[in-house]
Amino acid sequence: MIIPVTSADWYAVAPLTIVAVTALVVLLADLLAPKNVNRYVPIGIALAGLIVAAIDCAAAYGHDYAAFGGAFIVGGFSVVFQEIILISAVGSVVLYGAIGVGARTPGAIALLLWSTCGAMLMAGAGNLMTIFLGLELLSLALYCLCGLAERRTAREAALKYLILSSTASAFLLYGMALLFGASGSVALAALVSPALASNPLLWLGAGLFLIGIAFKLSLVPFHTWSPDVYEGAPLPITAFMSVATKAGTLAVFARFIYAALPPGVDERLLLPVWIIAAISMIAGNVGMLAQRDLKRLIAYSGIAQVGYILTALAGGTALGLRYAIFYLAAYAFMNLGAFAVAALLSDDGEQGSVLANYRGLGYRRPIAAALMTFFLLAMAGLPPTAGFLGKILILSTSVNTGYAWLGGFLIAGTAISLYAYAKVIYAMYTRDAHGHAHDVHPFVPLAWISAVACFVLVLVMTFYPLTPSNVLPLVR
């Protein structure tokens, strides 16, 4: 069967095309430009491309359309996920400016943009093929990006990520094959048929599929890769990975459980997912307690935060999905903010990711310390940040849908996490007995952009929760 492709289909993927082409422009500019052109040129091009793509993507809001015979879905919640992914890409590019990786910047940025493209594809994926295509595009670029930094841990991270992530992809792919076998179609919509509810192929396929997803989301039994990979990867890539990978995978997961399961299957099939989400909330937060590196801390925090988001999705209500996205957006802002502060404190290196360097920061760099405190409080879910309202919304939806036990795990996890976050805050505001042993380096010029980004994020995080009734209906 040949599906006719119309111009509307091409318009539907315009944001992705823009991002992909921007990557090519970045590479070409590097090739054609004279030597020693500074790193701000590729960064500028990338930012321009991402912003145009974001505007184009936002324009698709409200125009629901299933492009390429249902392979790629425009409108609905995919727009919001894509915007979150684009924001994280913008953040990551800005961080590249702030810390820099020397001559490799153009290549890294091109790979980053292609990776963004893959995540956006996942957010809009309407069939199994597109999901896999998006996932591989996202992951392959990230394997290279992880290994970019010149240190041993970077190579280790890249290799570890490659092997473990490929294993997860294998699970996912095998699950997809079985799902295809069950329904005879790659379309997610074809799985809704009630006749499949008792088909063992569907159960097995969906189970393997969900294992793959849990792996990518780094839920607990499959989480061990993420702290090591986050630690080894360059700071901007960690920032991108911690948001975009999770956003893309969550979009796939949400579409799968909301729109691709036969009636009556979800409660039994998904129960193990909720259980591992509950375990993740505890284990992720406990794991944070012993960390000495900001990136590892955020990796463990991310494990728990995904658990919170899944709590909102449990029960499968439309409101739950909205709150999940609300929290995901808040999570994106707080993570990017924390990484932006870390970049502020780094000078063509990664001093900002070592937590020991934060000791006494409140007296050396009061503003940077205050910003970091704010983002950490947001992660802990304290007011006056978006994290607080996000948690309230998730708690209320969990009570409403009968998953109050997940809400209980959320509360317990949050209590543990506060200790871990407050430890960093505590270190920032204690006086260092040995004077200023770990003084930080002066700003590189683009760090100011990172600082501005921090301020913007603080404002967003403060006012975002004040107007949820304006933001929440955006999700459909």
């Binding site: 009061p366 205050a370 304290l382 006056p384 009570v399 409403n400 209590a415 407050a422 009734s469 929440l472």
Partner: protein, 472 residues
């Protein structure tokens, strides 16, 4: 107008933390002026309200601020204590310290003025932060800040879960100060338990009190004055305005538990205060004892006892603020809090000795001062409600109060002068000025408690009607 009461101190406080220009007297004057202005603005509080919508789903919630009936006096107490404490502050890094004091004032204003449960929960968490930062920046022990934060944050989380469940069940959290709100459902006991845990940790009562003596001993005097005077009332306020107003049946059903915990706190606090060697810990444990009495008063469901509890909340606020400020003066003069090292200061510092004497007398419930009125009303009400044994326990602990207050006073002021203690000037006019409003208020309320008895709150009415056996 009400928004100003909350946002003005917070804005000035944040400004003080950010702006790096520093002059000790100017920052002190600005801080005191802010607190004084909020006090004046708060006098005009009754009847005014402000509200704007926050959430429509999953439950209705608004930024709704106003006097819930009992908040008025607590707000005045808060502004007064902050004013006095800022005048009394003499720690290092004045600018940051006063900034944190103002943040504490603003966030607690928000707590007491919130008419919405979710906003209440928001400010509940927020008011922990300034105290945490002061403990980190000015405290002496690592463990203190952690204990404070983790205990109270655990309470804050159960409060949050209970609030969310309340909202889902009732459909709205815009309820504080409203009458006729009744919850039904199988979760209500859990919701009540969530609220009660948070309130009892914050108050605190035995056995949830272990964060308190450490915190009070470790923090600079002026900050403890505000925390012990006003923040400890947040739990009691919640117990009345939320627990008693919306879930009276459950509070009544668990009254025995509350009375027992209160009675244990009364005795345990009094006996422990008797043997502490740290001046601030003596007062911290005596606070535990006094707050236990208030918990008993609330749980007895008797209108007289409730009246007494409300007066005693204000009275306790005034005298514990004065007490901690004076102990702060002593500590900054002599650089020790140990009763074994202190002694004989009275001869050289007659004014300081006089101030300590007044505060100690107020604390042990001398007739004519605010503490006495509250105590006697609570005891009468509790007796009327039939908890005779609790009255006996309370009387024993009141006798003990005289003993430990006398011991505290004698340990610091009387006896032979200790040779190796530094000799410092007596109470300065600024320090005296900081104490004067508190002492004045103690005397005024003691002489004319009627001014405070005109509470008109849904919680109070609910309690009164339940106590009299009339169905609502």
């Amino acid at each position: 107008m009400i928004g100003v009461l909350i946002l003005f101190p917070i804005a000035v406080g944040l400004g003080m933390l950010i702006v790096r220009a520093e002059h000790p007297y100017v920052t002190k004057a600005i801080g005191a002026a802010v607190a004084a202005l909020t006090f004046i603005a708060a006098i005009d509080l009754q009847g005014s309200e402000e509200s704007f919508r926050w959430l429509a789903r999953p439950f209705e919630s608004s930024f709704h601020f106003g006097d819930s009936g009992i908040s008025f006096w607590l707000v005045l107490l808060l502004a007064l204590c902050t004013f006095c404490a800022i005048l009394a502050s003499n720690t290092g890094r004045q600018r940051q310290f006063i900034g944190q004091m103002l943040l504490l004032q603003g966030t607690m204003m928000g707590l007491f003025l919130a008419r919405d449960l979710l906003v209440f929960a928001l400010f509940w968490d927020l008011m922990l932060l300034p105290v945490f930062f002061v403990l980190v920046g000015w405290g002496q022990h690592h463990a203190t800040a952690w204990r404070y934060l983790l205990y109270n944050f655990a309470g804050g989380l159960t409060l949050l879960l209970a609030t969310a469940a309340f909202g889902v069940l009732y459909g709205s959290t815009d309820v504080i100060g409203r009458s006729g709100v009744h919850l039904v459902g199988s979760w209500v006991p859990w919701i009540f338990a969530g609220f009660a845990f948070a309130f009892l940790v914050k108050t605190p009562v035995w056995p949830l009190h272990t964060w308190m003596p450490l915190t009070y001993a470790d923090m600079p005097g002026p900050m403890v004055a505000v925390v012990s005077a006003v923040q400890s009332k947040a739990g009691l306020y919640g117990l009345i305005a939320i627990g008693m107003a919306f879930m009276p049946d459950y509070l009544r059903a668990s009254a025995l538990l509350f009375v027992v915990l209160g009675a244990i706190s009364l005795l345990y606090g009094a006996f422990t205060a008797l043997v502490q060697s740290d001046t601030k810990r003596v007062v911290a444990y005596s606070s535990l004892s006094h707050l236990g009495l208030i918990v008993i008063g609330i749980a007895s469901f008797n209108p007289i006892a409730l009246q007494g509890a409300l007066i005693y909340m204000i009275g306790h606020g005034l005298f514990s603020a004065a007490m901690f400020m004076i102990l702060g003066y002593v500590e900054s003069r002599e650089e020790t809090r140990s009763l074994t090292r202190l002694g004989g200061l009275g001869a050289q510092n007659p004014r300081l000795a006089g101030a300590l004497c007044i505060a100690a007398l107020a604390m042990l419930g001398l007739p004519g001062l605010a503490g006495f009125v509250g105590e006697i009303l609570i005891l009468t009400g509790v007796f009327q409600a039939g908890w005779t044994w609790a009255v006996v326990v309370a009387l024993v602990s009141i006798v003990l109060a005289s003993a430990y207050m006398l011991r505290l006073y004698q340990g610091i002021m009387n006896g032979p002068q200790v040779a190796d203690l530094p000799v410092r000037p007596d109470l300065t006019w600024m320090e005296g000025l900081a104490l004067a409003p508190l002492v004045l208020a103690l005397v005024l309320i003691g002489i004319n408690p009627h001014a405070l008895t005109t509470f008109n709150t849904s919680a109070y009415n609910a309690a009164a009607s339940i106590a009299q056996g009339t169905p609502q």
